[in-house]
C-alpha cells in the first residue's frame, strides 16, 4: 500500500460521500468533514513533499511499471516542486473552508463537495507525470471551477462570469488536446519523461513547434496571460470570496506550473538551439501581461476586480520568470507564487469581509465606511505591501531571485519592469486601504457604470453587524505566513535546489523511467544589495502612488492637459476591450494563438 494515490482518492471519495448524505447532513457536519478531509490531504501531500525532497520518485498506477524503458501505465512523477504546490493547494483549500464556515449564511454539502473535487484535481495536476493525465485533471479542475464561479446561480454577474470562464478555458483545453495528439503522433508516448526522451537529440520541426504553441496557449489560458486573460477578471469579480481565494491563490499558478513542467521535460532539449528566441517570445508575452494587468488593476474601483487584475499582472511576472528558462528564474517564480498566493488569498478574504459587513465592493461607495474595522484595514495594507515585495517578505525573496535570473540572461531592464508591476498592484491595494478604511481621498468619481456593476453584486448575504473573529483570523494567519515563510531557514535555498532539479531534464528521465536519481550539482544564490534597493524603491513607489491618487488631485490638475487626455483615452480603449462579450474574448484568443504560433514558427525553426 502506497500513499501516493491517497491525496486524490481521499477528497474524491469524501466529496462523493458528502453528496450522498446531503439530505441528512447538517451544516456543522459538512464543515467539519470538509475541514477534516482537507487537513488529511495537507498531511498526505506534506509526507509526499518530505519524501520527494530526499528522493524524487515515480509511482506507477496499478503497478504498470515501464518495461524496457517503454512506459505502459500512468505515472505520478513526484518531485518537491510538484508536491509542494499540491501541499500549498491543500492549505489554501483548508483555509478557505474554515473561512467559509462563517462567510456563507446558507450553504450545503454541495459546496464542500465541489471544493474537495477541486482539491483532488489540483493535487493530481501537480503530481502527475503523464501528459494526458495532466489534461484530465486540468478539465476536472476547470469544470468544478465553472460550477463554483456560478455558485450564486440566481444572480446575473456569476452566470455571465461562469459562461465566459467556461468557454474560454474549454477552448484552451481543446488546444491542449490537439497539442497532445501531435506529440503522440510524433513519439507514440504520453508520459512526459518518455516524450522528452524520444524528442531528445532531434531538432524541433514545425510539428513540434505547433504542438508546443498549442500546449502553452492552453495552459496560459488557465494562467490568464494577455491576450487570453479576459475570463479571469470576470470570473474573479463574481465568484464567492472563498472561491476567489483558490482561483488567484493557486489555480492560475498551476497553469504556469504546467508550462514549466512541459517545457523542461519535453521541449527543452529539441529547442535548445533556439533557447534565446523562445526566451524573447516568453519575456515579451510576460511583459505585456504584467503591464496590462498592472494598469488595469490600478484603474479599477470594483475591489475584487482590482485584485483579479493584480493577479494578471503577477502572472506576467511569472511568465517572464519561467520565460528566462533558467533554474533561478523558476525558483524565483516558485518562491513568489507562495508569497503571492498567501497574500492574494488573504486579500480576497478581507474583500469578502467588506461584502459580508457592508454589502458593497465598490471602492468609492465604501469611502471611509471601513473605519469601524481597523484590524481588517491594517491587514489589507499589509497585503498591499506584500504585493509590492517589501524587503524580507516572501515575495521579496522571490523577486530577488527573479532579478538575479534576469541579469544572468542579460535582460537588464526586467527588474525595472517587476518594480513597475509591484508599484501598480501594491499601490492600488494601498489606495483602497486608505480610501475604504481611513476615509482618505475623494468619495466620488464619474464612471458610474462600474459602480452599478459593483453594487449589483451582493453574494446574497451582506449587511451583518459584526465580523466573526474567525473570518479575520484566517486571513491574518495567511498574511503572517506570507511574511515569514521566506525567512524560515532553508526554505528559499530549498526551493532553489528543487527548481534546479526540476530543470534537470536528463535526471528527470532517469528517475522517472529507470528509478535512478542522479542530479547535476546545483548552487544556491543569495540576496544582493541592489535587491534591497529595488524592493525598497518598489515599496516606496507603491506608497507614493497610493498617496498621489488619494491626495494629489490638486497636483494632478496642474499637469498639462494633452498627455492627461491622451492617457485617459488610451486607458478607455484598454477598458473597452474587456467587454464581457464571450465572442470578443474568443476572437482575442484566436488572434493571440495565431500570433504566438506565427512568431514561434518564424523564430524557432
Amino acid at each position: 500500500m502506497h500513499i501516493t494515490a491517497l491525496p486524490i482518492a481521499v477528497p474524491l471519495l469524501g466529496a462523493a460521500a458528502l453528496i450522498a448524505i446531503r439530505p441528512f447532513a447538517s451544516r456543522w457536519f459538512d464543515d467539519l468533514a470538509g475541514g477534516a478531509i482537507a487537513a488529511s490531504v495537507i498531511t498526505l501531500c506534506a509526507l509526499l513533499l518530505a519524501r520527494s525532497a530526499r528522493h524524487p520518485f515515480a509511482y506507477w498506477m496499478g503497478g504498470w511499471r515501464p518495461s524496457h524503458s517503454v512506459t505502459i501505465g500512468i505515472s505520478f512523477s513526484i518531485d518537491p516542486l510538484g508536491a509542494g504546490l499540491a501541499t500549498f493547494a491543500a492549505v489554501l483549500i483548508a483555509a478557505s473552508l474554515v473561512y467559509a464556515w462563517r462567510y456563507f449564511d446558507e450553504v450545503d454539502g454541495l459546496f464542500h463537495a465541489l471544493m474537495l473535487i477541486f482539491l483532488a484535481a489540483m493535487v493530481g495536476f501537480a503530481l502527475t507525470g503523464d501528459l494526458f493525465n495532466l489534461v484530465v485533471f486540468f478539465e476536472l479542475m476547470s469544470a468544478v471551477a465553472y460550477a463554483l464561479t456560478a455558485y450564486k446561480i440566481e444572480e446575473r454577474g456569476p452566470i455571465q462570469g461562469a459562461i465566459n470562464f467556461a468557454i474560454s478555458n474549454s477552448v484552451g483545453a481543446y488546444a491542449v488536446f490537439i497539442g497532445i495528439g501531435l506529440l503522440y503522433a510524433r513519439t507514440g508516448a504520453l508520459n512526459m519523461a518518455q516524450i522528452g526522451a524520444a524528442l531528445n537529440g532531434h531538432r524541433a520541426d514545425a510539428l513540434v513547434i505547433v504542438a508546443m504553441t498549442l500546449l502553452f496557449v492552453g495552459f496560459l489560458t488557465k494562467a490568464a496571460a494577455v491576450p487570453v486573460h479576459f475570463w479571469l477578471a470576470d470570473a474573479h469579480a463574481v465568484a464567492p470570496a472563498p472561491v476567489c481565494v483558490l482561483f488567484s491563490g493557486v489555480m492560475v499558478e498551476l497553469g504556469i506550473f504546467a508550462v514549466a513542467r512541459i517545457y523542461w521535460t519535453i521541449f527543452a532539449a529539441p529547442l535548445a538551439p533556439h533557447a534565446d528566441e523562445l526566451r524573447a517570445i516568453l519575456v515579451a508575452l510576460g511583459t505585456v501581461t504584467a503591464l496590462w494587468g498592472g494598469v488595469m488593476c490600478f484603474a479599477q474601483r470594483h475591489i475584487k476586480r482590482l485584485l483579479a487584475f493584480s493577479t494578471i499582472s503577477h502572472v506576467g511576472m511569472f511568465v517572464c520568470g519561467i520565460g528566462l528558462l533558467s533554474a533561478k528564474g523558476l525558483a524565483g517564480v516558485a518562491t513568489y507564487v507562495v508569497g503571492h498566493g498567501l497574500t492574494k488569498a488573504a486579500l480576497f478574504m478581507l474583500a469578502g469581509i467588506l461584502l459580508y459587513r457592508l454589502d458593497d465592493i465598490d471602492e468609492f461607495d465604501l469611502h471611509g465606511r471601513g473605519r469601524a474595522m481597523p484590524v481588517v484595514g491594517v491587514l489589507f495594507a499589509i497585503g498591499g505591501l506584500s504585493l509590492a515585495a517589501l524587503p524580507v517578505v516572501t515575495t521579496f525573496f522571490g523577486k530577488s531571485l527573479l532579478d538575479g535570473a534576469a541579469l544572468d540572461a542579460h535582460y537588464r531592464w526586467l527588474p525595472a519592469l517587476f518594480v513597475v508591476a509591484s508599484v501598480l498592484t501594491g499601490g492600488a491595494v494601498l489606495r483602497v486601504a486608505g480610501r475604504v478604511f481611513v476615509g482618505w481621498g475623494a468619495a466620488r468619481r464619474r464612471d458610474e457604470a462600474q459602480a452599478e456593476e459593483a453594487r449589483e453584486e451582493h453574494e446574497g448575504n451582506g449587511g451583518h453587524d459584526r465580523t466573526p473573529p474567525l473570518m479575520v483570523l484566517v486571513p491574518a494567519v495567511l498574511l503572517l505566513a506570507a511574511v515569514v515563510v521566506g525567512l524560515i531557514p532553508g526554505a528559499v535555498p530549498g526551493i532553489e535546489l528543487a527548481a534546479a532539479h526540476f530543470t534537470d531534464r536528463a535526471a528527470y528521465v532517469g528517475w522517472v523511467l529507470h528509478g535512478v536519481v542522479h542530479f547535476a550539482p546545483a548552487a544556491t544564490s543569495h540576496v544582493e544589495g541592489f535587491d534591497y534597493l529595488y524592493a525598497a524603491g518598489a515599496t516606496a513607489g507603491a506608497l507614493g502612488l497610493a498617496a498621489l491618487t488619494l491626495f494629489g488631485a490638486p497636483l494632478l490638475q496642474r499637469l498639462p492637459a494633452m498627455p492627461v487626455r491622451a492617457s485617459t483615452a488610451a486607458l478607455g480603449v484598454l477598458r473597452e476591450l474587456h467587454s464581457g462579450h464571450i465572442g470578443d474574448y474568443i476572437a482575442w484568443w484566436t488572434a493571440g494563438t495565431a500570433a504566438l504560433g506565427g512568431a514561434s514558427l518564424i523564430l524557432l525553426t
Binding site: 456560478a150 444572480e155 495528439g181 474587456h578 465572442g583
Partner: protein
C-alpha cells in the same frame, strides 16, 4: 493515411471558433464549442488510424492482426465525457442567463464590463 482527416480537423476547429466569435445566441455559442471539440476527435482518431486496421478488440481476432491504435480512442472517449459535462453545465448556465437577462444574445449580457 492521407492528409484529408487532418484538414477536416483543422477546419472543424477553426469554423467552430468562428461560430463562437460570431454567435448571437448562447445555445449556438455552446454548440459551436462542441464543433471546436469535434476537431480534436477527428485529429486524434486520424492519428491512430491504420489502413486496413481492425478494431483493437483482441478477443475476436488473432493477436497479430493489424489494428488501429486504441490509445487515441481512449483519449477521444475521455474527451467525449468532458464534452458532455461541460456542455451540460453551459446549457444550464444558458437557461439561467435567459431567466435573469431575458435574452440569450451575448450582446445583451451586460452584467460585466469594464
Amino acid at each position: 493515411m492521407t492528409f484529408f482527416p487532418f484538414a477536416v480537423a483543422v477546419w472543424l476547429f477553426v469554423v467552430g471558433l468562428y461560430g463562437v466569435v460570431s454567435s448571437r445566441n448562447l445555445v449556438r455559442t455552446i454548440l459551436s464549442l462542441t464543433v471546436v471539440q469535434s476537431g480534436t476527435y477527428v485529429l486524434l482518431l486520424g492519428i491512430g488510424y491504420r489502413n486496413g486496421g481492425q478494431a483493437p478488440i483482441y478477443a475476436d481476432i488473432p493477436a497479430v492482426s493489424k489494428a488501429v491504435d486504441p490509445v487515441v480512442q481512449v483519449l477521444v472517449l475521455v474527451d467525449v465525457v468532458v464534452e458532455a459535462t461541460v456542455t451540460a453545465l453551459l446549457l444550464a448556465l444558458a437557461i439561467q442567463a435567459h431567466k435573469r437577462f431575458g435574452s440569450l444574445d451575448p450582446h445583451e449580457l451586460r452584467a460585466l464590463r469594464d
